[in-house]
Point group: C2
Chain length 238, copies 2
């Protein structure tokens, strides 16, 4: 075996590095797109803007497309480059993060769909609190995507911890929505849509923690060890 | 390079095959466990059995543990065996299916948690329809796990199509729950829990279609191409 076969030639290493950084950049674009989908859905909710909501719904396929491209590229790199250790974790992590971001965009589009329906009804008070919940989750999402860009597992763990506050806020909000329905039975339909929107937002918070876990895995090679209640908590009063 | 290095020795191939079939068997056990978690949660709902519900909640970590083991083994195989083509798709698919099954078990445990809360309140009529929705999704889950065992992409596509019926049933059920709340404001809290349970069940149906997509990818190497509305449809009346 000649040295040229033991050690890949320089242009091959270069091509491989290019593929890895392309994969990272695709995830970063996907993340930015998902962030803007969530931001748009929440703005459409708070301003009752149906045109914007319709635009968010129509844009969902862009994220799906990048997710499919990430899958193809990741599997191609796995097949052709047979990466080891750090690179392998980077790629397996990228596969996970990409499908998680795709789901975040899905939930954002679902929020926008419900805004279209809500805008056909008189507005109800608790909508403002749902927007507030959304703004908290926007911050989590931004932070975890920054942690990905910086491959910073400490930042990731911070996000992972902060999701508990979101869950508590969501519990209080669901309680508020339930009370509002009892006091205003004619707003039950609108409040049910808001309940589903709030649940979608809470799920996006959970997905941000999943991204945090994947970043930790990419950087450290291990699962986050701290015990923490799972996001999907069940309040005694819903 | 001697022939012995080009072609791995027989015991190495054997060990590799053993690892691959171990991975498949772990997914099959996980699937069976998730099926039984869902079955138990639904039985606890229909019979108002709090002991059973508590047992389901306590058993959730078993599935989490297998999911973690699947991840470890899959990444180990990727690193040590550098699998190509079919085997690579099998492994990447296994990673996806394993995390999907873990989520199904999570949702089942969440249903059981809500049953514990519901059992503190007087029972409400629509609970029976929620159980019916659950039974439909149980069938989807069983079928898609059979499709995995048989690595049968046609069976998988069939499940993928059937989820539309589940979504329609869920839409009608949510409408029914909303009406029930309007007519019986004192049952609003119980109906909110049933709404979340129904949503969890509908999500399990979506996850069964995700497994179907992963099986199709494992067997054919492509995404399912048929256009189909996404599961998370938004009815005009929730």
């Amino acid at each position: 075996v000649g040295a040229g076969e033991q050690m890949p030639e320089r242009h091959t290493i270069r091509a491989y590095d290019d593929e890895l950084s392309k994969l990272g950049n695709m995830i970063i674009s996907m993340g930015a797109l998902a962030e803007s989908q969530l931001e748009g859905a929440l703005r459409a909710l708070s301003t009752r803007d149906s045109d914007l909501a319709a635009h968010i719904v129509a844009s969902d396929n862009q994220v799906d497309q990048i997710d499919a491209d990430v899958d193809l590229l990741a599997v191609r790199i796995l097949a052709l480059r047979q990466p080891m250790a750090d690179d392998l974790r980077m790629i397996v992590g990228a596969l996970r993060i990409s499908s998680t971001i795709e789901r975040i965009a899905d939930y954002s589009a679902n929020i926008a769909k419900r805004v279209l329906v809500l805008n056909q009804m008189p507005s109800v008070g608790p909508a403002a609190s749902v927007v507030q919940l959304g703004q908290r989750v926007q911050i989590l999402l931004k932070s975890v995507l920054d942690a990905f860009i910086n491959q910073n597992s400490e930042e990731a763990i911070k996000v992972w911890r902060q999701d508990e506050e979101v869950d508590r806020f969501h519990t209080v909000l669901t309680h508020k929505l339930t009370e509002h329905m009892s006091d205003n039975p004619r707003s039950i339909t609108a409040c049910m849509h808001l309940t589903f929107i709030a649940k979608n937002i809470e799920r996006i918070g959970d997905l941000a923690t999943n991204i945090a876990e994947s970043i930790h895995y990419q950087v450290k090679g291990t699962r986050i060890q701290e015990p923490r209640a799972k996001g999907d908590s069940v309040p005694l009063d819903p």
